[in-house]
Symmetry: C2
Subunit: 811 residues, 2 copies
């Protein structure tokens, strides 16, 4: 069942009814100011850090769901409704929510009053802009009251929801004309405040939640709105809110619009006040002045659209399959931007409280982002590398505000260091900017301990080599990519976090996954060294990889598939000898991608085993069989009920590894099928089962052992975005950046007739037409660049700012 449709021209997902199977959200903002906004205008916004600098309050897991947002109440006679349906839930006669790229439009109508809410965060501005347009579609004049509403957060979102004995006393506001200022704690150590304003005179305002709603009322029944009269309440403690009341008179057919701005402002320490107790409103006035007129808003909106137009012109697909086109050309890349910005901090499943930027998460995210804005990718790489330790190990996360490693979240994830090599490789292949390797980057943010970025990569690679176990395989540490496979924790304490439980390093537990990853990245890393003038070191790297490969073949192959790991007692994990958890997806993906045991056909056998044992109609499950009981030696994975999350769930993130490995084996149809099964656009028709947004990936889909098989969770913030884009763009469509140029190496189903990719790459644009006249799955027979045949399938670096036509014929 569908709840909307893709508008491919506008690049919008259009939601046709407000009661989606779960709130379907969008992200606003690309730089410092970010908003989450649902199809009913729920959500919140923050400045840079979702925990520490939250502007508006949001209640996760609220009853009703998704209560709280920026709400506009329309009082038309005695009838009260919201353009976004929620919270009043008066049925609109017409409703559309258009989630676009960095903006959301809600259009609805009730009793011949049409309302249109355009919401976006302008480029270069720290605010949300909401333009509300009202049109009288009736034959008689209308007298409307328009009430706005936001609820402010006392900045630190964690403190805001726990420390009431203090917080109920600190709330402060100022009101100045149509501008409401939230200045809680500004009197003391903060030099920032929020402003919520509208570009029209108001009839009144409210800033005290209880006065606006009434103590026992929900957002669906605010006293002030139902009484039709603002309370002019001035918050003093409790819960400050911002609400404007506007009187709107509309002649038949008349239309009026109002621009609401909700922004973040800060002052220098010595310019905090304009009078004793009165905040310096200068930065707010400057901000508001930028969005006072429709023209200004339209211009900012155009700028945003152009921004995305520009970004998405860097990779654009035209094929016979509109679902594929829209995912590749628009939505997957859009999600990659969001994961780049948010890491795993703030979604409708991530509360923004507990998680900062992940070392592994954010490095992986680069795979899908680096082609969009390479300069920001570079900056991110340097930030991440600066949190690395001298021994090559890493904090698992760092704080977005301070960029410092976050010790509270644990460390000892032994795959973390390798991801840095992965990310840097991706950056080099995209940009050819070899100078990045010479950047001076500290360890643990200590400038005194600065070395070149290349040296960081050395420490990363060395960290694996210096931490090998009894079988010569990498020690797993607290966990590897699978955070929930905790082989050294042995947690018995109820509720203890596996991320921070004491890691009782056995020196025994080994990861075949890390081994596969090590072998996979070694050639690129060796090449980086070789080009840096370290030829013998490059050789050593390749030799180490060879040794690792042998170790995997000897100790990491289980007969039909790659083993997952050895636990702290040296017992096999992910072996046919195991009672449960016989087979895991991760090593099959990475060892096959690395080609480990290729000459013996191990990759293909592993992929066949995946197909036989792990594959389901909704995607490939992580392990089989799911663990039915808790295993002290395995940790969190076995803490989940069967079929959920890492315990037999379809963990979408690793499905592309299998897809990529299938392309390497030349299985175009199989690779595409793996891609398709978890790809949201293809799941649109079963939204009632899938539940989360049909335009973005979810981290997990419940596996076949779960009662809710096929139900997705944790949409938006997942490495799935980057990995699927990496898969589909570089391996299925085969437009693959290499150190020396763009390689064209598609691997597609035989029934693919061809496709065209427009790709901006290193200062030139390539319009690449791939033809498949013979219906093959892989292989380029001939290729021309601007009509001239070229040898092989590697496009040279034109770097001339021009557009080049490429025709590649498979066969």
């Amino acid at each position: 069942m569908k709840f909307g449709y893709f508008d491919d021209v506008q690049r919008e997902y259009v939601i046709e009814r407000p009661d989606t199977p779960y709130p379907w959200i969008n992200y606003l903002g690309n730089e410092q100011f970010f908003s989450l906004i649902s199809n009913t205008s729920g959500g919140y916004c923050f400045y840079r850090d979702a925990r520490l600098m939250r502007l508006t309050r949001y209640r996760y897991n609220s009853v009703p769901t998704d209560a709280g947002g920026r709400y506009f109440y329309l009082r038309d006679g005695d009838d009260v409704w919201n353009p976004g349906w929620a919270p009043v839930k008066a049925k609109p006669d017409r409703y559309r929510c258009r989630h676009g790229l960095g903006y959301t439009v809600i259009e609805s109508e009730r009793n011949q009053l049409a309302a249109r809410q355009l919401s976006f965060v302008p480029i270069g501005a720290d605010c949300e802009v909401h333009r509300v347009t009202l049109k009288n579609q009736s034959g008689a004049a209308k007298e409307i009251k328009l009430f706005s509403f936001v609820e402010f957060c006392a900045w630190n979102a964690y403190d805001d929801m726990t420390n009431f004995q203090r917080n109920f006393n600190t709330g402060e506001v100022e009101i100045d004309g149509s501008a409401i200022y939230h200045k809680t704690e500004y009197r003391e150590r903060r030099n920032h405040y929020a402003v919520f304003s509208v570009n029209a005179p108001i009839q009144g305002y409210d800033t005290d939640r209880e006065s606006f709603l009434g103590l026992y009322n929900g957002f669906d029944r605010p006293d002030v709105v139902f009484n039709g009269k603002p309370g002019n309440s001035v918050a003093s403690g409790w819960s400050p809110v911002g609400s404007h009341c506007l009187g709107v008179t509309l002649a038949p057919g008349e239309e009026k619009s109002y621009i609401f701005v909700l922004g973040y402002c800060e002052n220098p320490e010595d310019q905090k006040w304009e009078a004793p107790g009165v905040i310096n409103k200068e930065p707010a006035r400057r901000l508001l002045d930028r969005f006072r007129t429709d023209r200004q808003v339209e211009s900012a909106f155009d700028e945003l659209k152009n921004y995305w137009q520009g970004l998405l012109s860097r990779f654009c697909l035209q094929s016979e399959d509109p679902k594929l086109d829209r995912m590749v050309s628009v939505w997957n890349q859009y999600q990659c931007m969001v994961t780049f910005n948010m890491s795993r901090s703030a979604s409708y499943f991530e509360s923004g409280i507990g998680r900062g930027m992940g070392f592994r998460d954010s490095t992986q995210d680069l795979l899908g982002f680096v082609h969009l804005i390479p300069s920001r990718a570079k900056a991110r790489i340097l930030d991440i590398a600066a949190t690395q330790m001298e021994d090559g190990s890493a904090y698992h996360q760092y704080q977005p505000l301070t960029k410092r490693g976050n010790m509270e979240v644990g460390s000892g994830f032994n795959d973390d260091p390798l991801w840095l090599i992965f990310g840097v490789t991706a950056y080099l292949k995209e940009t050819g900017d070899w100078s990045v390797l010479k950047e001076s980057v500290p360890f643990d943010n200590d400038e005194k301990k600065s070395v070149s970025l290349l040296e960081h990569l050395r420490r990363s690679f060395g960290h694996v080599l210096h931490n090998l176990g009894p079988h010569g395989l990498p020690l797993i540490g607290r966990a590897d990519w699978n955070d929930c496979l905790n082989l050294n924790c042995f947690s018995k304490k109820p509720g203890e976090s596996f991320q921070t439980a004491e890691n009782m390093e056995s020196g025994v537990a080994e990861s075949v996954f890390i081994a596969g990853m090590f072998v996979y990245i070694a050639p690129s890393y060796a090449e980086i060294l070789r080009r840096g003038g370290f030829a013998s070191e490059a050789e050593a790297v390749l030799k180490a990889a060879k040794n690792m490969e042998q170790a995997v073949i000897r100790y990491g192959w289980d007969g039909e598939w790659y083993l997952r790991a050895y636990d702290a007692m040296g017992n096999k994990v992910g072996s046919r000898e195991c009672e449960e958890g016989k087979l895991f997806i991760e090593p099959q993906g990475f060892c096959a991608m690395a080609g480990i045991g290729m000459e013996k056909g191990l990759p293909e056998r592993a992929l066949d085993s995946v197909k036989e044992h792990l594959d389901t109609k909704y995607g490939i499950v992580l392990n089989w069989p799911s663990y039915t009981t808790y295993r002290l030696n395995l940790g969190e994975i076995s803490s989940y009920p069967p079929g959920y999350k890492e315990n037999g769930g379809i963990f979408c993130h690793n499905n592309p590894w299998i897809s990529i490995a299938e392309t390497m084996a030349g299985h175009g149809e199989r690779a595409f099928e793996v891609y398709r099964r978890t790809c949201p656009a293809y799941l649109e028709d079963i939204s009632e089962i899938h539940r989360t947004e049909p335009y973005v990936y979810a981290q997990m889909i419940a596996g076949r052992d779960a009662p809710r098989f096929g139900e997705a969770k944790n949409s938006w913030l997942t490495g799935t975005a980057a990995w699927t884009f990496y898969d589909v763009s570089q391996f299925i469509l085969g437009i693959r950046p290499q150190f020396d140029g763009l390689q064209i190496d598609p691997c597609v189903p035989s029934w693919f007739k061809g496709f065209t990719v427009t790709r901006r790459f290193r200062g030139a644009e390539y319009v690449i037409e791939v033809r498949n006249p013979d219906g093959v799955e892989k292989g380029i027979k001939t290729m021309t660049l601007d009509g001239t045949p070229i040898m092989g399938n590697l496009l040279p670096d034109c770097a001339d700012g021009k557009t080049h036509r490429v025709v590649a014929v498979m066969g």
Copy 2:
């Protein structure tokens, strides 16, 4: 304006309408299992630790207010309502909520259907019992559907509200007949589960919140109830709930009752399962078997009533003033029990997340609790002392489950150690149990570092003496009793907690408050030493107190009042020289109580200054004038807007210090007036201003500098309870335990004609009639014990299990 009344016979507060100015709550449970329940049946329950072992989910600062609880929905034809009004809020034709001692009764009626909900936690049982009685008051038969509802918490309340990417996958339940089992995480490291059952066959059930409510509905509009049909949903992840559906047929005049039990059960590690994946329900069956019949419930309810009858018979007042009687005899003592049980962890203002048992808080709480159950007071003293450090300093809090000091919450509050002496003194005076001093008690819970309790007191006293500042006054450390006067923190970081900010000990900042406290407790402590055979040490203690007194007189007297402190630069705090914060209540109270500078009349002058500058119609504010700006050298106090909390709020906790000091000065009328102003029963008529419960104290009432002057916050969990009881019982009524017996030393307004206190004390009962024929404020002229005149005003220790009549005549 009143919203209810005191039923003095039943010892209940009867609320007459559901929309009280703030949710008015009650506490159920006295031992391990505790519940908070509001007048609309909102709230939650937990086992021992409000953070880690929470059975049901509660959303603080929810919209609507107080949403979530144990709800019973009645569907009578198409009409749906709740006995407690919330959440449906259908107006009842009749409504009463009776908050009693450890139980709550909600009685209401709508459309001639009467409902009565009796809720309590039985003595010795880890469960809530809710008996719902329905009576058909109409002339026609009624077919009712009764739906129960609770929402389970995933045990750790903090994790439950932040970690959704995990928690939405872990929820599990079992249903067995009429019993619903919440077993989330039982499959792994927990060996406990919750059970929610009813003593009747059910028509169906729901255990998945979304199935019960509908995704976008609030608690006020559950789909299942409005459809009249249970969904028989089995939770798998998301939010497990428990709901029973019962069909109830009532003939005219017929009454039926149903017993719902919501309990906590645990199993030994090796007996967790009765079959693979099936929890061992034996403990649940045992629990449920205890409350299957009305007779069992009535018997348990009688036991609870008798329990409280017994406790409150230990101090019972009859006077001419029913407000005074009900506060002294019932509600103040009841609140003291609650503060003893909860410390500052779980109220409608304390979220149960952040605070464990306070070293200072819990020791103070003993002042109002020790006479009720001395054995529990003793156990608490030993728990607290065991968290002390060898140098006499203390963790500021400890964890209720582990009883270990909580380093996260900070330390260095230099008054903390002295409170241990205070608590032990109170215990000794109540019980005469000198053996407690010989108890072996570890430092920092390290059994290897065990010493006698007396040695702990030595370290406490010594900690002050070893930490004196430039004026010979005690160094304040991070703060003293006033947690918000942070003289060594200099916090500049937005949002940083003053409790955990780095304490940059200046070695300069001194507290006159600690000095006063030191002098106040020294005589009792010296007496303890003397009786323990340490006469010369006792002398040294008295000498140290004398020196301290001199230091206060010399450096701590500001001319008209006692100084508050010296800051880290050696500047005065709480001096007429200050621009703001000239005068603070705390040192006036404690230095006057200690009689510092008595011969120069300093206490009386200080009290006059308090009256002149700090007194308001709603109580005495903490400081004057309030700070209008943030002061880096003073910390949190100046972070509050003027009039709130420690910055010019009426901090009820310290008002009794002034009242006690007034009794010492012989000012009975003034002492009583101070007592009366913050006493909730006297504020019942202005509930629309005061807002919190008129039967319990709040921590704070907004002061005269606040826009909401007179509005109370943070009700229930406050040292106010213990201190006011200490004040009114021992100083105003003057029934004062001393080491050698009960002293009778009232200090009352001259218009008090007399009163009678029944007091159980050390194994005997004293019925003490105080007469005031001459209308004096203080002084006992004659006293008889069982008709025999005795010298002085100290009753000897009868300890004979009998009742003795005492007549004390003032004059």
